[in-house]
Amino acid sequence: MTNLLTSSPRLDAVTAVATGGRLWRRLLRHGGGRVGVALAFILALAALIGPWLTTDPDVPDYTNKLQPPSGGHLLGTDLAGRDLLARTFAGARMSLGAALLVMAIVTIVGLVVGVVAGSAGGVIDTVLTRVMDVLLGIPGLVLTLAIVGVLGPSFFNLVFAMAVTGWAGLAKVARAHTRGAGQRPDVIAARMAGAGPIRIAFGHVLPGVVSLLVVAATLRLGDTVVALAGLSFLGLGAQPPTAEWGRMLSDARETLSVAPFQIIGPGVALMLTVLASTLIADALRDLDEPENRR
């Protein structure tokens, strides 16, 4: 929910780190960064192979409902007797997959709009920048809520709404980077060699911006997962019987006082996702400012 990443020094940090190269190795040498990467790896593993190790997450078994954690059901079962570990794994696939899809879309849109605005300048730049500022002026969750209101509540519409609202911050980064690139030696050399503005934009500026935006978008993955889960929690995203972390939490609410263990799976999974994302983001900022390293 916080909009830190679109307005904070963190993005400047990302600029330096993403263009500095060998990002991966430096990240793994940073203590917090290593933990974050390890957590992200575990979560990805849970999403990829978890569902193969467990039973079908959607098949009810009413003779086994609300069973506390045991050898047969490591995280217990829900009101319909469905295995909560299986549902948490399936939820990982759902939540992380949807968040990645949102990030992919906003990165591409942000990239195109930002590079176009930054290279074109003039009226086009002014108009596009105004659009970005307006979008950044509306709390993302509020606008997402409104778009879901227009389209109707469903997980697909929620993902679409998040993609529509999320690109402005990234476009601003791409635009700033594109404008700054005009004075770079290789760009000046290309211009002197007779390359046109479009060729410079796509051949010389775009490749550098891509890696930058991919990192910036990755940093928002945690926030995106939480926003998806939050709106699904309100019943405006994933619909039953879909296993999705936010939806699982809201399904568990009615019986939580007799079976509190139900929040362990989706709750811990959500927290680990945000923790991984925050640790990696912090590590990247530290890497950019060596005096902050500890």
């Binding site: 709390p139 969750l141 606008l143 209101g149 309100l234 019943g235 923790l275 500890r294």
Partner: protein, 310 residues
């Protein structure tokens, strides 16, 4: 200074206008005929084609889209958001009756968040690298990673239901505001305290503080008298920018605690696809964000002379 104010005001007007256009597009793009829905909402059993046409021309829905947009903007400027599609009553009235509860929640969580973030940030900076810093940073990290809805259901179902502290259904008054406000505040407090800590440590590296230390001032005096004022602009900026995001978090927290505010009302409106209500909430959020940004710009210009010269 005057140029700064003019530029901030122009930015505010553009944002409001842009938001109005976006919401107009949403209203026009949403399915269903507003006139028919309003008539149904007013409890009419059999709706004739004539009544629908009459209301359509009364609402101006038979006019060309550009004219509708101008009417819509004129309505917004005079505080008219149209009629709710599910109750048939004016949206402004519906929101006005629920706004005080939301403002109470927002003010209470803002106070809690500012208080907590000041404590966490100052403690962390005072004992940087030592035990208090570790405790403060661990707490911040914890509250940062717990989503508000998870915190909300844990507080409601463990503390309120389990231990019988507080009430399950809030009536929106000050006496029940604590738990909802806490739920909304903790994540913001955590993120703000991190900003405050970082800028306090940044302020510490200024040369005049070395001089100050050489002259024998105490650590506490340096922290509160020299470092805190210099660390304020980033802290105030993030608080100002995120006030609107506290309102953005209201739908989730209000829904959990059955808080009778505009956030919960809007979530219900999304369920019934009551677009005018949703649009009203969006416009309130934008207005609040614009006012907060203006206030931040002015506040920073007042406390930081360097900004005034630009």
């Amino acid at each position: 200074m005057i140029r700064l104010v003019v530029r901030s005001l122009a930015q505010a007007v553009v944002t409001l206008l842009g938001g109005a256009v976006i919401t107009f597009v949403m209203l026009s793009a949403s399915p269903g005929d507003p006139a028919e829905r309003i008539l149904t909402a007013r409890g009419q059993e059999s709706i004739t084609w004539l009544q629908i046409e009459a209301l359509r021309s009364e609402l101006g829905l038979d006019r060309p889209l550009p004219v509708q947009l101008l009417n819509y903007l004129g309505g917004l400027a005079t505080g008219d958001l149209g009629a709710s599609w599910s109750t048939g009553r004016p949206v402004v009235d519906e929101l006005a009756t629920r706004l005080p509860a939301t403002l109470r929640l927002t003010v209470a969580s803002l106070a809690l968040a500012v208080g907590f973030s000041l404590i966490l940030g100052l403690v962390a900076a005072a004992g940087a690298g030592r035990f208090p810093d570790h405790v403060s940073r661990t707490l911040s990290m914890f509250f940062l990673v717990v989503p508000s809805f998870l915190l909300g259901i844990v507080i409601l179902d463990v503390v309120v239901v389990g231990f019988g502290v507080g009430v399950v259904i809030s009536d929106g008054s000050w006496s029940t505001v604590l738990f909802p406000a806490l739920t909304l505040a903790l994540a913001s407090a955590a993120s703000w305290s991190r900003v405050l800590r970082a800028s306090l440590l940044g302020a510490r590296s200024a040369p005049f503080l070395t001089v100050s230390r050489a002259r024998g001032t105490t650590n506490v005096r340096r922290l509160l008298v020299h470092e805190l004022p210099n660390a304020l602009p980033p802290f105030v900026t993030i608080i100002g920018l995120e006030i609107a995001f506290l309102l953005g978090g209201a739908p989730i927290v209000e829904s959990i605690y059955s808080w009778p505010g505009v956030g919960r009302f809007t979530v219900q409106a999304v369920g019934t696809r009551d677009m005018p209500v949703i649009v009203g909430f969006v416009m309130i959020s934008i207005t609040l964000f614009v006012i907060a940004s203006l206030a931040v710009d002015l506040f920073n210009a007042v406390i930081d002379p360097r900004l005034r010269r630009r």
